[in-house]
Amino acid sequence: MAAAQSELTRARARSAWLFLAPMLVVLALTAAWPLARTIFFSFTDDKLGDASYHFVGFDNYFVQGDGYTDGILADPLWLSAVWHTVWFAVVSVALETALGLVVALVLNSDFRGRALVRTAILVPWAIPTVVSSKMWAWMLNDQLGIVNDMLQRAHLISGPVAWTANPSVSMISVIFVDVWKTTPFMALMILAALQLLPTDCYEAGRIDGVSPVKMFFKVTLPLIWPALIVAIVFRALDALRVFDLIYLLTSGSNDTISMSVYAQQQLVQFQKVGVGSAASTLLFIVLAIFTAGTLLLTRSKNAEA
């Protein structure tokens, strides 16, 4: 019976495609085409400001000749860029999720001035990253910055710390500023989920005498889990593409280089469109694998539930 589709069903399918068409065209032009071009250029030796190019196969990615290896995958700088980026993404997203959860739980309770606090907490998120990076760069300045001044007055540090210059602390500074900036986003996403929770589970739990901690882990967390996963995926994708914060806050040395900074350096500073495109393509592949992995994991979890 499914084999013979009625005229109505077919008409519906046609109009569905018709309505989808504008969006698909826009998507193809703004997302698919640039992506295809980037992948295309990653197999060439194209240079900015030089119209001619040749195909070089996978040479931009990896090439082995007698006695040498070349290409991005053989570049120790790329490997450390991947490591920095993953480290940054894991630590900052974990901290943002934990802090965001705490903030959301507080904001979810009833207290006077709740609306005001909710608005105020969004301020860091509303400031453009370029502005907040510059702001923090000044506050973290080793000689003139307020952070060192306050910490020294409180006798927490003996001398000024070069927060953005010292390679061993500059990544911590970057993560700190990112957590400051993005915790509100996580809090807002989680708060939205909290507000949709049914009250009856809590009433039942209270009657059974369940402790608040147990209530959180057994009732609240499973119920907001789907929303939490979406928020974490969003944030992780953002964090893996990190560019502006690192570029503006740190000294630009190789100690904090991220995958996006590496790609920008090759593409813009060195004018190597081919190598830069290959780096961008690798970044895209990392993101795609991450997204697919998360979706698969959560799908199997949802199927269990």
Binding site: G49, D70, A165, S251, S253, N254, Q269, Q271
Partner: protein, 425 residues
């Protein structure tokens, strides 16, 4: 009928536009001006005078403070053939890299370039084309606090070792006197083009070569270069704050001008700002050539900026006229007096007014005329990569991640890879 009316009104508008253009030939040109120190103010003053003279209008577009960012920004616009900006402010190392995007200024200069330093004009001439007019020149200088040297009965140092010892004496004394933040020496240690300039001075002052020599040979792996960088690394945490590893020109000036440092390496522009009304150290600044290494010489990296007209500009004649005005003797003199921008016209170094405002320009003229050039002409389009690898290697040594010997050896290998079959291939 509808189409016809549209066409009619369009042609009417065009005719009116043409008539207007015929009546008043005022044009609007856009110029990129720097944003370090007084760059914007001084650029505005010069531009306004030209506006009054010609009746044209000028839009000033500001560019980032870091030259590394500026070059990337320019290359993107120029590679896309953008005609939005007519005049570009070009670093002395760029004509070899992006000169092809600029028109030949010779038809407009009427020989005016002959009044400028021949070396800079030669640098700006690419394939027989004068891609840019010299605007101001730069060389790294050592700024010091006269009052503090007197206080500790010291003489202005002539070697790096003396400078480090003096800096330590003053730093210890000032800190004991209650200024816990006081620093001996500040310079440009951030991983960017500025560090390449500073580090090239260390190399050259020790006799350690210029990274890549004129014949294209990579010369960075030698004992003198290693000694120079080792010496510089010994300053960090001792006479220079650790934060210097993230300092550009303006960060160093910020510390020095607020009276918190005894010595500073910077470009000449810091002189007039340091002696400005809002400066804590006005009248207390001394300037001299950078110290030398053992058996080396005094040196300074050649810097400076040029003005070029984009070949995508739609107002080339007006833009060239503005360039010629800004690089004229009168305007360079005004900028030298008001902003201590080093003129590119040798005659101005004998001008009494210029020397009164900037006494160092007379005494240090040999530093400016003999400044050491970065290897941008030899390495051409690959210079950005050469410089990036060099500053990262030096930054690693300064931050203690590596030692000079290892860093220079791996830099040598890296530069060989960048060179490939040849610098121009």
């Amino acid at each position: 009928m509808k189409l016809k009316s549209v066409l009619t009104s369009l042609s009417l508008a065009t005719a009116m536009g043409l008539a207007l253009a015929g009546m008043a030939r005022a044009e609007q040109v856009a110029i990129m001006c720097g944003s370090v120190g007084a760059d914007q103010d001084q650029c505005k003053k010069g531009v306004q005078a030209w506006e009054k003279l010609t009746g044209n209008t000028v839009k000033i577009v500001s560019i980032p403070a870091s030259t590394t960012d500026v070059l990337a920004f320019y290359q993107q616009g120029l590679a896309a053939g953008s005609g939005d900006v007519d005049i570009y402010q070009l670093d002395v190392i760029w004509p070899g890299i992006i000169g092809k995007y600029f028109i030949d200024l010779k038809p407009f200069s009427k020989g005016a370039e002959k009044d400028h330093f021949p070396a800079i004009v030669a640098n700006n001439t690419v394939g027989g084309k004068l891609t840019a007019m010299p605007w101001f020149t730069d060389a790294g200088l050592l700024f010091y606090r006269k009052d503090l040297l007197d206080k500790y009965k010291l003489k202005a140092p002539t070697t790096w070792a003396e400078m480090a010892a003096d800096a330590k004496t003053i730093q210890d004394g000032e800190r004991k006197a209650g200024d816990a933040k006081f620093q001996g020496f500040v310079f440009q240690g951030k991983a960017y083009e500025g560090l390449t300039c500073d580090a090239l001075e260390w190399l050259d002052s020790f006799g350690g070569g210029h990274i890549v020599n004129k014949a294209g040979k990579i010369t960075v792996e030698n004992a003198k270069a290693e000694a120079a960088i080792t010496e510089a690394a010994s300053w960090i945490g001792k006479i220079a704050p650790e934060g210097v590893l993230n300092y550009g020109e303006e960060d160093a000036r910020g510390v020095f001008q607020s009276g918190e440092a005894a010595f500073m390496r910077n470009w000449p522009y810091a002189w007039s700002l340091g002696n400005g009304k809002d400066s804590k150290i006005a009248g207390k600044i001394g300037v001299e050539a950078l110290p030398m290494g053992p058996g080396g010489k005094h040196t300074g990296t050649l810097g400076g900026w040029q003005l070029g007209v984009s070949k995508f500009s739609k107002h080339q004649a007006a833009a060239a006229s503005l360039v010629m005005y800004l690089t004229s003797q009168a305007e360079e003199k005004r900028r030298a007096i008001e902003g201590s921008y080093n003129p590119t016209i040798p005659a101005l170094y004998k001008d009494a007014d210029v020397l009164k405002a900037n006494p160092f320009m007379g005494t240090l003229i040999s530093t400016f005329t003999n400044a050491v050039a970065r290897p941008s002409l030899t390495t051409g389009a690959k210079y950005a990569e050469v410089s990036n690898d060099f500053w990262n290697a030096v930054h690693d040594v300064l931050s203690g991640k590596s030692n000079a010997k290892t860093a220079m050896a791996s830099l040598h290998a890296q530069l060989k890879k960048v060179r490939g079959p040849g610098w121009d291939k």
